[in-house]
Each structure stands twice: as structure tokens, then as C-alpha cells.
């Protein structure tokens, strides 16, 4: 195999790659930023700082604050189980973990609806006990957790495999118990993998639309996250609000991506 392709084909590849990215990724982004600030900073800022806009932002951040830590703890535990404790059930866990990747978020939303709805399997009993899941924050949290389960697991498993067990064994010969070994050796060794998973989880939770839109009922100022707010504003021809919230989401996403790149670099170092 040749290590370097001749100049013409290399240039062709570059043009195709960059062209593809520009057309499909950059152009829409530029368009939305342009549209948003077409008439200055005031209209979008005004829209986002409206009562409903602020509430949507807060609710989106609440989803992140609840779903991300839960999925991080679960993800690390699950990865440890998959890598360090081999047993028959692992193959099943491994494929089930991937379900949220494979399933359309709308289907996930519908599944939760069927489980917790007024006529669902658990809904009536929970309603009797005074617990409201559907069309309220708990249901939205469940949907957010569901769709973002795999990220920390998927990012942590290969790192755990790579570090092997020797460092942990060394810690135990030096007198560390299982808990001390986890905190002082295992966790610091996998920290960049976990952090990468956390960033991806955050981005997914922030952006989730399908599943959350089904279970939330999308009531303005109550059960509306930023993506739902964008959709409703767009449907109602409130373009400054739609664009403003979109740009806010895009900025949050870019921040997480930036964080991800920084982490990637640390991991490689």
C-alpha cells in the first residue's frame, strides 16, 4: 500500500470532503446564525428571555442535571460489569444497552407512553398513588435518560479494556481494598473516557426532541424544553423566537463539542 497518494487524487479527496461538509453541515448553520441576527441582537434575545423561553432553557438544563449524573454512574457500573465480571448475561446487557441507538426516539416516547399512560400498564396504579409521570417532568426525565443511556458505557468499555487489570492488582498487593482501588486507580485511569461519554450524553439530552415531545405534552412554560420551544415557535411563525432558541441550542452544542475536543486531546496526550 502507498503511504501518500499522488497530488491530484489527494486534492480531489479534500475538495469532496470539504464540499460535503460545507453543503450539509456548515451551510445550514451559517444560515440559521445569519437569519437570527438579521435584524440585530435584540429580537432573538428578547424572544429567549421571554417567560416561556427562559423556562424552556431551565427545563432543558434540569434534564441535563438529572439525566447526566444518573447515566454516568450507571454507565461506569455497567462498563465495569461488562469488562471485569464476565458472565453469560453480558451479551444480553451489551445488546440491550445499544437499543436507544437503534430505536427511533419517537418509538421510545411511545413505549413510555404505553407504560405510564392513563391506560398503560403502570399508569393507573401510579396515578392512584398520586405519582404523575406522563405530561410532567418525571416522564421527560425518563425519556432523556432512556435515549442517552449508551454513551458513557460505550466510551468507558474500551478504555477499561485497554488499561487491563494489572494496575488494579498492583493496588491490591499494596494493601488497597476494592473501593480504594476503584477511586485511586481505576477511576483516574478511565477518567477521559468517562468525561467524553458525559459530554456526548449532555449533548444528546440537550437536543432530544422525539421521545420528550411525546411524553411531555409540550405545554408552554410547563413541560417545554428548548427543542420543543423551537418547534412550537416555528409552527406559530414566531421566527425570531425559533431562531434565537435554535442558536442558543447550537451554542450549547458547540460548547460541549469544544469540551469534547479538549478532552480528546488530553486523552491522547
Amino acid at each position: 500500500m502507498r503511504t501518500a497518494s499522488p497530488a491530484p487524487s489527494r486534492w480531489a479527496l479534500r475538495v469532496v470532503g470539504l464540499g460535503y461538509l460545507t453543503l450539509l453541515l456548515l451551510a445550514p448553520l451559517v444560515a440559521i446564525f445569519y437569519k437570527t441576527f438579521e435584524h440585530g441582537l435584540a429580537p432573538p434575545i428578547e424572544a429567549i428571555t421571554s417567560t416561556n423561553g427562559l423556562h424552556a432553557l431551565k427545563l432543558s438544563l434540569l434534564m441535563v442535571v438529572i439525566a447526566v449524573p444518573l447515566n454516568t454512574i450507571f454507565g461506569i457500573g455497567c462498563a465495569l460489569l461488562l469488562v471485569r465480571h464476565k458472565w453469560k448475561g453480558n451479551a444480553l446487557i451489551d445488546s440491550v444497552i445499544n437499543l436507544p441507538f437503534a430505536m427511533s426516539p419517537v418509538v421510545i416516547g411511545l413505549a413510555l407512553f404505553l407504560l405510564y399512560g392513563a391506560k398503560g400498564w403502570l399508569g393507573p396504579d401510579l396515578a392512584e398513588a398520586g405519582v404523575e409521570i406522563l405530561f410532567s417532568v418525571p416522564g421527560m426525565v425518563l425519556a432523556s435518560i432512556f435515549v442517552s443511556i449508551p454513551f458513557v458505557v460505550r466510551e468507558t468499555v474500551p478504555v477499561l479494556q485497554e488499561i487491563g487489570t494489572e494496575q488494579e492488582q498492583a493496588a491490591s498487593t499494596l494493601g488497597a481494598n476494592a473501593w480504594q482501588t476503584f477511586w485511586r486507580v481505576t477511576l483516574p485511569s478511565i477518567r477521559w473516557g468517562v468525561a467524553y461519554g458525559v459530554v456526548l450524553t449532555t449533548a444528546r439530552v440537550l437536543g432530544e426532541f422525539g421521545a420528550v415531545s411525546i411524553v411531555s405534552g409540550s405545554r408552554s412554560g410547563e413541560t417545554e424544553t428548548l427543542p420543543l420551544y423551537v418547534k412550537k415557535a416555528f409552527d406559530n411563525f414566531e421566527f425570531p423566537a425559533a431562531y434565537g432558541a435554535s442558536v442558543l441550542l447550537a451554542l450549547l452544542a458547540l460548547t460541549t463539542l469544544l469540551a469534547m475536543n479538549v478532552l480528546k486531546r488530553k486523552e491522547d496526550a
Partner: protein
């Protein structure tokens, strides 16, 4: 602290790693577990440390049965082949790890760590990360880390296996000196017989999950219990039923009734030592170890015919000592079925 293993059995699936192994390691000794890969030597070492659980048998350290004790309570120092350095910690933090776990106070930890870094000749590298050290330095750091907690016993699993030949030789000598100074009971695993003989006072030769023989290097070399030990500890040629060391064959230019004819196939100069490979009439390959002076005296050339006279040979088949070709007067033999035959020259 003497270590004793009795009737150790361990299998991994279908693979029998330890098959009824018993070993006695005297207090303060430096013992090598020697064997080819898959012989069970590492499994045995790991079982002593508690990193493997035995299917049957027991491990005693200083008279106390530790078979069910978890690793972290056994007070063993363990050094891994690939160092097992904590990559996210500095050298200082690595060496001080066990002390921090034992909740020593900071000043005492610092004193002890620097004392150990001096001992392993790594002063001034305390703030480096393991990735900034060479292989030999990493292994010395790992050794310092294991010694920091003043273990009852020190266990080393192919400690020099990943290092290049030069560094390996240096570290061997250094480990021997260290053992003399510290006098902590030490077991180290190796597949390199030269390394085992160079470093250890006592050798335990293992093969296929069993102990073949244990004893001093000289014992094993001079009185191997069986064919395996003879061929694993030192070089050996096979002549029919007999085993002959390459330095126990005389090369002469004139035949007599005790010699066999061979053709010089290859002459390899390894410094002062010369390795001459012969093919005998029946197709057997034999090599002979000569000194440079002997070679010059004989003026051997590749393709030339010469005559080989085994001076000393061993046979492990049955109870009848078989003479080496042309041996005249058998002198004494080992006990049991194994026979040793020496020929007076």
C-alpha cells in the same frame, strides 16, 4: 518469612495450570521458579500473592495459612512483568501509594519514598510520570513501590522479561545485591535458565503444572532428575538414549573405538566461546562448545570430518545405566531409576 505451598491445584477451564504443586521456600532465601511458558510458574506466584484462588491446596506464609486471606492483607510485595505502573501518578505517588493507603502522615511518606528512590537509584525522578521513564527505570520504580510497605515477602513475575539484554543483566546483579542487603524472602519467576542460575540461590523447575525438581543451580545442572530438567537447565545434545552437555564432548581428528564420526556443518563464533555444529553419520545434529584456542588447535573447517568423544553422558531411561559411546568405566550413579554415567578420560 518462609513460604510453603502444599498440594496446589488450579485449572483455567480445560487447562491445568497447577497440578498438585508443593514448594518450600526457606526464610530469607532468593528462589527462582523456572520453567517454559504454560508451566504454571506465574500461576503459582500469583496464588502466593492471592491474585489467583487455588482450587485445592494451601499457601502458608511464616507458618500462617493465608489461603483464604485477600491479597491486600497478605503483605506481599509484587512486581509485574509489565511494571503495572500507575500511569496517572508521578513516581513519588507510585512509590508512596501503599503508605498512603496505610494512612502514614505526609512527612513520613516523603522520607520513606526518597529513601527508596535512592535505594533503587532513581533519585531526582520523583516528579516524573511513568511514561517519561525507560523500561528499566519503571521496573525499579515498581520495585521501590513494592518494597515501600516493607512486605513480608517479595514476589517478582518475570521482572526483567520486557527489558533488553544489557539492562536485564545490570538489574540481575542489582537484585542480587538488594536481596543480600534487605534479606527479605524473595521468589522470582523466569523462563530464562541463565537468569535463574545467575540470581537465585534456589531453583524450582516447573513443567506442565508440576515441579520437576528443586535445588541449587549446581545441583540441577550436575544431577538433573530427568530429561526435562537436564535439557531446560543448560544446553544438551541427544545421542540415542543419552544426553550430553555440549562442553562434555571432545573433538579429535583421529578416530578410535570410543569416537563417532561427524561432519562440521557450521562454526559459530560467540566471542571466546565457539559453537561447532556437527552432523553424525545417522543424521543426528550435535553441537559442541569449544574455546577459541581449542578451535585454533584443531583447525576445523566447515565440511570437514572430525571425531566426537563424549566425556560424560546421562541416561534417564529405565534402571540400566547406558554407557556413552565408548565409555570405559562407569563411576557411580544417582539413586532411583535415573542413572548417571561418567567416563574417565
Amino acid at each position: 518469612m518462609g513460604i510453603s505451598v502444599e498440594g496446589a491445584v488450579k485449572s483455567f477451564g480445560d487447562f491445568q495450570a497447577l497440578d498438585d504443586v508443593s514448594v518450600e521456600v526457606p526464610d530469607g532465601s532468593l528462589t527462582a521458579l523456572l520453567g517454559p511458558s504454560g508451566s504454571g510458574k506465574s500461576t503459582l506466584l500469583r496464588a502466593i500473592a492471592g491474585l489467583e484462588t487455588l482450587d485445592a491446596g494451601r499457601v502458608t506464609i511464616d507458618g500462617e495459612d493465608v489461603s483464604t486471606k485477600p491479597t491486600q492483607k497478605r503483605e506481599v510485595g509484587f512486581v509485574f512483568q509489565h511494571y503495572a505502573a500507575f500511569k496517572h501518578m508521578t513516581v513519588f505517588e507510585n512509590v508512596g501509594f501503599g503508605l498512603k493507603i496505610r494512612k502514614w502522615d505526609k512527612a513520613k511518606i516523603a522520607d520513606r519514598v526518597h529513601e527508596l528512590l535512592n535505594l533503587v537509584q532513581l533519585p531526582g525522578l520523583a516528579d516524573r510520570y511513568p511514561s517519561q521513564l525507560s523500561g528499566g527505570q519503571r521496573q525499579r520504580m515498581a520495585l521501590a513501590r513494592a518494597l515501600a510497605v516493607q512486605p513480608q515477602v517479595l514476589l517478582l513475575d518475570e521482572p526483567f522479561g520486557a527489558l533488553d539484554a544489557r539492562v536485564r543483566k545490570d538489574l540481575r546483579a542489582w537484585l542480587r545485591n538488594l536481596h543480600e542487603e534487605m534479606n527479605v524472602t524473595t521468589i522470582f519467576v523466569t523462563h530464562d535458565q541463565e537468569e535463574a542460575m545467575d540470581v537465585a540461590g534456589q531453583l524450582v523447575v516447573m513443567n506442565q503444572g508440576r515441579v520437576e525438581q528443586s535445588g541449587s543451580a549446581e545441583d540441577l545442572y550436575e544431577h538433573p532428575a530427568n530429561e526435562f530438567v537436564m535439557s531446560f537447565v543448560g544446553e544438551v545434545n541427544r545421542l540415542g538414549e543419552d544426553f550430553v552437555r555440549p562442553h562434555d564432548i571432545e573433538v579429535v581428528l583421529e578416530a578410535d573405538d570410543r569416537t563417532e564420526e561427524g561432519v562440521v556443518k557450521r562454526i559459530v563464533a560467540l566471542g571466546f566461546e565457539i559453537r561447532v555444529e556437527f552432523v553424525l553419520g545417522d543424521g543426528t545434529d550435535v553441537w559442541v562448545q569449544l574455546t577459541r584456542n581449542e578451535l585454533q588447535r584443531l583447525e576445523l573447517r566447515e565440511g570437514q570430518i572430525a571425531f566426537l568423544r563424549p566425556v560424560q553422558a546421562k541416561s534417564f531411561n529405565g534402571s540400566t545405566p547406558s554407557d556413552p559411546p565408548g565409555a570405559s568405566t562407569p563411576q557411580g550413579s544417582d539413586d532411583g531409576g535415573d542413572a548417571e554415567v561418567s567416563a574417565a578420560v
